[in-house]
Amino acid sequence: MSRYILRRALRSLLTVVIVFVAVFMLLRLMPLSGYFPPEMIKEADEATRMVYLRNQGLLDHPMVQLGRFVGNMFHGDLGRSLTVYPKVPIATLLKEKIPVTAAFGFASMLIGIVFGVGLGLFMVRFKDKAGDKLGTVFILLVRAVPSLIYLFFIQVWISKWFNLPLIFYKDRPISWILPTICLSLSSIAYYALWLRRFMVDEENQDYVKFAQVKGLPKREVLKRHVFKNAAIPLIIYIPYDLLMIIAGSLVIETLYAIPGTGGLLTTAIKSQDNNLVQVIVLMYAILSVIGVFLGDLLVAFVDPRIKLTEGE
């Protein structure tokens, strides 16, 4: 097992390095004019623009820039934002934004799992009956209707009917309700849909039929066998989802004015904020490989039949 972990860790490290270097170099292929907001490019002549680029170290050879970035990083300096939040230390930005997004993400993930699994079980329990059909309607609505439509409906109308604030306020917990619900809707639908599908699939397996023929009550079969086996393909993604809650949601954070990380990477790429893009990509790459790795470990832990190494 330890050899597996070591080999996997090395492979993960290599993945992170390749992703990071590729993104770092690709960013250096972007046109230099992209480092300037429209106001500045109109106001500044070519020579002044060059002064700015040189001050930021953007005219140095890409390998020099890479070396400088990695060197600073090992000294705990993630650098400063270039264009999105000029000169603001990236560590400060992340420190401000990640906790907000993570809090909402964690709450919505919990709600998503609890209600999604609950809904999935409910739909299986009442398969082809009204409850199942209602659940299917909900899943279809969430997954098929463009999210902006129902998110906007919830923000404007639900807030009006229940007298809830339209946007998020840090010091008013009541304003946290709607964004959390909005964030969890798609996970509820996701977990319900797949759990139902996997459980229905398992129900048709021979071992389930055998258990039922042997006289085990349906509830017992569902709980002890069907649910356990059906949950395995879902469990594998939980560590990944848990770690990636810091990515946030661009639409919901914008709608409710949540000062989180949603859309930060997109904005940084559009504004050619190299430093910010590099740090975020590095962070996401690390979290992704850890998330996938933990998912593998978790699934092996939950289902002893799954072996991670050939020798085991």
């Binding site: 109109k42 106001e43 500044a44 939040y85 401000e96």
Partner: protein, 648 residues
């Protein structure tokens, strides 16, 4: 309360009627207007907190190095300049108690208020006195290339010696200048640069050229604000990154700052003019979309909201219909750039022909284009001039755009498809042979990549490639332009392509000339036409279309050398009329759009034509102002402003 409001509305309506009807009895009107305005405000109650919003992130508060317009609004309330406009736009003392200038307006001397101190983000006084040296140090800060000051062009070219000092330091940084160290070069600031602290409370600017507009530049440019240099140097790159890393000397300080979320301004208890600060607190929330802000306004969660013109129509007949007020003015002009040096040989041949450019100008129905942005009253956003009307006045109060021949351009109705066709036929006669071959033009493939690539055959119809962003509104406007131009000039003569480009437009489209026609905007930033017009010369930074206009360049030179401000404006008017009248650039609408609803009493805060809104003096009511109330107050204000400008 309802009765009073009804009475106020009736009085306002009566006043508007009387103004319209009785043009000969001016004195009587003025009296009636004043009385009506007073009635409107009678019985109103006020609050000392104003809740508003911002729609895009406040990236940094470093007022010297940020390029973001949104920052200006906060800074203009937190850092005072030497002078400020009063509610009529007349410059009055601010941190300077008084000022004088020499005859040719190249030396400006300001006398600073004594006994003022910088305050911190808690509103507490710091140990730093506010002196003339802080204004000198402001220039010292921006003069160092390593501080990345933004928008240096105007100030760097105006203040004597600043240009040379800046580039000397930069040459040293690059290694191009080795005969002195950076410290030695920096030590020459006081002898080289035309800004001096004559004593602790007198600062003097020496300019390279006459600048009768210098006070408006102080209002518009953040680069002329003071800085506590020792503090800024101590902060280094952290200066202005949040509310705790800066000092304040304005009517407010930033007491709370949550990035991308909320900002609270609190009245500065040590402010020199605190008796005229009515609002104790200004609370900002970040709201990214208009719909949410309108909904929050309706629920009383914000005291101000903009309303898109489309929404204006849907709100008519509701309880909010009578509270919609048209936005006042915009000094930003939307125009079409023509590419005079692009790769498309067909367009290149035609665009250098004046008849073709005039054909384009007359083919556009500007009111129809305006209706896309302002369906309620498109005429209010039409603009044929490059500089905005109502932005620049001579010493007699005459609007710059009323100088002939610019006045004729301003008042011209360019919508004339028949005339457009005539001009097009003249252009074809001059540029094509009898078979419709464009003379000197060979078939080729035009490479505007990454935007587009297309083949041209060197024959009529002339291929025109319009490149815009993938913004939905802009695509609709491009489609309308295509329909107008093809209909007026004939599809047998022009083939109008639209390329909607997603991404960084300036860097990919405008700068590398990957377009034939391109849509952009320019703003009048201070009270002189030179702000825009000197950038539009043949060698000017804003001549992205690469035209060659020696006649225009000569007029600009003459304007800059004029003896009086009136002569200067006259020459600039001639130059602008030349450029716009011959279609080298095609201005057609202003950026003005939309409506707003507000709890603020109009015209109670400074009229900042070139800077950003200030809350000093602003009065906020407990109920929103109606359009009728606004009209009554506005009419009275117009009379008072005309008098104030006359007395200036």
């Amino acid at each position: 309360m309802k009765m009073k409001r009804m009475l106020a509305l009736l009085l306002a309506a009566a006043m508007i009627f009387s103004l319209a009807a009785c043009t000969s009895s001016g004195t009587q009107d003025q009296g009636a207007s004043a009385a009506d305005a007073q009635d409107v405000l009678e019985g109103k109650t006020y609050v000392d907190t104003y809740k508003t919003y911002f729609s895009s992130s406040y990236a940094s508060f470093n007022y010297f190095s940020t390029a973001y317009a949104t920052v200006r609004e906060i800074v203009s309330n937190c850092i005072d300049g030497l002078v400020e406009p009063d509610i009529y736009g007349v410059y009055v003392p601010s941190l300077a108690e008084s000022w004088e200038t020499n005859d040719d307006e190249t030396v400006w001397t300001f006398h600073i208020r004594q006994g003022l101190k910088w305050v911190d983000h808690t509103g507490a006084e710091t140990e730093y006195d506010l002196t003339a040296q802080d204004f000198v140090d402001g220039i010292r800060y921006i003069a160092d290339p390593q501080n990345d000051a933004y928008s240096m062009r105007v100030v760097r070219n105006l203040i004597s010696g600043l240009y040379d000092y800046y580039w000397d330091l930069d040459d040293i940084d690059c290694g191009d200048k080795t005969d002195m160290t950076r410290e030695e070069a920096a030590a020459r600031f006081d002898e080289m640069v035309g800004v001096k602290a004559l004593d602790d409370y007198t600062v003097q600017y020496t300019l390279d050229s006459s600048a009768p507009y210098f006070l408006s530049l102080i209002e518009s440019s953040m680069l002329l604000l003071p800085i506590e240099y020792d503090y800024a140097v101590e902060m280094g790159d952290d200066f202005g990154i949040d509310n705790e890393h800066m000092l304040y000397c304005g009517a407010y300080y930033i007491s709370q700052f949550e990035r991308d979320k909320a900002i609270t301004l609190t009245a500065n208890p040590h402010y020199w003019d605190k008796d005229h600060v009515n609002l104790a607190t200004v609370e900002y929330q970040m709201i990214s979309d208009d719909t949410t802000s309108v909904e929050m306004f309706k629920r009383g969660e914000t005291d101000y909201t903009t309303v898109a013109a489309e929404e204006y129509l849907s709100m008519q007949g509701t309880e909010w219909g009578d509270k919609l007020i048209p936005t006042d003015h915009s000094f930003s002009t939307n125009y079409l750039w023509l590419d005079f040096d692009g790769e498309n040989p067909e367009f290149n041949a035609f665009v250098n022909n004046e008849n073709f450019r005039l054909a384009l100008m007359y083919a556009m129905n500007r009111e129809a284009i305006g209706a896309l942005r302002e369906p309620v009253d498109p005429s209010r956003i039409l603009r044929n001039t490059i500089n905005a009307e109502g932005a620049i006045f001579d010493s007699n109060g005459k609007d710059y755009t009323d100088y002939s021949p610019l006045k004729e351009i301003k008042e011209m109705d360019y919508t004339n498809p028949d005339l457009a066709k005539e001009y097009m036929e003249k252009a074809i006669a001059e540029l094509c042979d009898a078979d419709g071959n464009i003379i000197g033009c060979e078939p080729t493939t035009v490479d505007y990549l990454p935007v587009c690539s297309f083949a041209v055959d060197g024959k009529l119809p002339v291929t025109i490639c319009y490149v815009g962003t993938d913004d939905e509104d802009e695509i609709v406007m491009a489609q309308l332009l295509k329909a107008m131009i093809e209909e007026a000039l004939g599809t047998e003569n022009v083939d109008f392509h639209i390329e909607a480009f997603s991404g960084w437009t300036y860097g990919t489209v405008a700068d590398p000339l990957n377009y034939d026609i391109y849509f952009d905007s320019l703003s009048t930033n201070y009270a002189d036409p030179s702000g825009i017009l000197t950038r539009l010369t043949t060698d000017g930074a804003e001549n992205v279309g690469c035209y060659d206009v020696p006649e225009y360049d000569a007029l600009i030179e003459e304007a800059l050398a004029a003896d009086t401000f009136e002569d200067r404006l006259q020459k600039f008017a001639e130059a602008e009329a030349y450029l716009a009248g011959k279609g080298f650039v095609i201005p057609f609408i202003s950026s003005l759009r939309g409506y707003y609803m507000s709890y603020c009493v109009p015209h109670t805060s400074p009229l900042t034509l070139y800077g950003n809104d200030k809350y000093k003096g602003c009065q906020v009511m407990t109920e929103p102002i109606t359009f009728e109330e606004f009209q009554a107050l506005d009419a009275q204000y117009d009379i008072e402003r005309a008098e104030a400008l006359k007395a200036k």
